[in-house]
């Protein structure tokens, strides 16, 4: 009930009306409500909720290439409803992103050269959650960063889509969750920990991208 109330309030205000900081606090508040809710259902102590909150606060410091630059990619949606996106084959009705737009996205992020398989042009709010092809919704997401990368975000996209279509979360809320900080969303709705095993397996086949100016996030100790 608390969760629904908070999400509704955020949805009514809209992302544009919230500052990034305010949105972040609102998200953390939602996360805490989720954590408490989960803790109650699993008869876990209150300390579990506090730990979860600490994880969220550290994730809020993530920057590109793990998460998009919200000034460049705040997220953008099509005028669609849950009824639209839950029809099988919905994504195929949406036009592919033109190559010229993809090039512009790379330029916006200062990426002038890249190898095949380094990045995908990702819809921050995924097509299956009603995201648009606007340049405001596109960013170059790395396949090679660890532990947060394009493969991991796909799992969150699928889970939020499943929940929207099951009616357990409304579309506007799902869009806001993934737009504000998809890593936080992953921890809340998919798994509190990043998929370490899968990331290590991929590390054998892909050289990891390690930006010099950005610290690598540490996987929390379970």
């Amino acid at each position: 009930m608390i969760l629904t109330c908070l999400h509704s309030r955020i949805a009514q205000r809209g992302t544009a009306g919230l500052g990034i900081l305010g949105a972040l606090f609102a998200f953390v508040a939602c996360d805490r409500a989720v954590s408490v809710q989960q803790a109650q259902s699993k008869a876990v102590s209150t300390a579990a909720a506090d730990t979860s909150l600490a994880i969220v606060q550290s994730d809020s410091g993530l920057r590109f290439p793990f998460v998009p630059d919200l000034a460049k990619t705040p997220g953008d949606t099509l005028e669609v409803t849950a009824a639209d996106i839950c029809v099988p084959g919905y994504s195929k009705k949406v036009r592919n992103v033109p190559i010229a737009v993809k090039r512009q996205v790379y330029l916006n992020y200062g990426i002038r050269k890249h190898k095949p398989g380094d990045y995908e042009i990702d819809h921050l709010i995924s097509l299956e959650l009603g995201g648009s092809n606007s340049i405001r919704n596109l960013w170059p997401q790395s396949y090679r960063t660890s532990p947060w990368n394009a493969h991991v975000k796909d799992a969150l996209e699928n889970e939020l889509h499943r929940r929207v279509c099951a009616g357990t979360i409304d579309l506007a809320t799902a869009q806001r969750i993934i737009a504000q900080n998809w890593v936080m969303g992953y921890r809340i709705y998919v798994n509190p920990n990043p998929p370490v095993a899968a990331t290590r397996a991929r590390a054998h086949t892909h050289r990891q991208y390690r930006p010099r100016s950005e610290p690598q996030p540490q996987a929390p100790v379970p």
Binding site: E79, D84, K93, V94, R95, V101, S132, N133, I135
Partner: protein
């Protein structure tokens, strides 16, 4: 200008029956009841000539404009507000048929 390969087969053969405006959004009404919404940079001038109507043969699109090639040989050009995310088509029942 390239043909829009995804939209052309969807609306080929439909006739544009009417064009209306909702601010800067053009509303193309087809003879089968479907409606296409196109976001444009600005509303049309008040004294603009009536738009060309007819059966669609193909659709071409660039980052600035969408062009409907009609079977009569004439064309209907509508400017776009941005390169993507401006065109949406719903059928007579309101189901989504296409978005860009």
């Amino acid at each position: 200008m390239r043909r829009n390969q995804k939209l052309t087969p969807v609306i080929k053969g439909r006739s544009i029956a009417d064009i209306g405006w909702d601010g800067a959004t053009a509303l193309l009404h087809f003879d089968d009841g479907s409606v296409m919404r196109i976001h444009t940079p600005t509303p049309p001038p008040k004294n603009s000539p009536p738009a060309t109507l007819g059966k669609v043969r193909a659709v071409r699109q660039s980052s600035e404009v969408i062009v409907f090639d009609l079977e009569s040989g004439s064309t209907l050009q509508i400017p776009l507000a941005e390169a993507t995310s401006c065109v949406m088509l719903r059928d007579a029942k309101g189901a989504l048929e296409y978005a860009d």
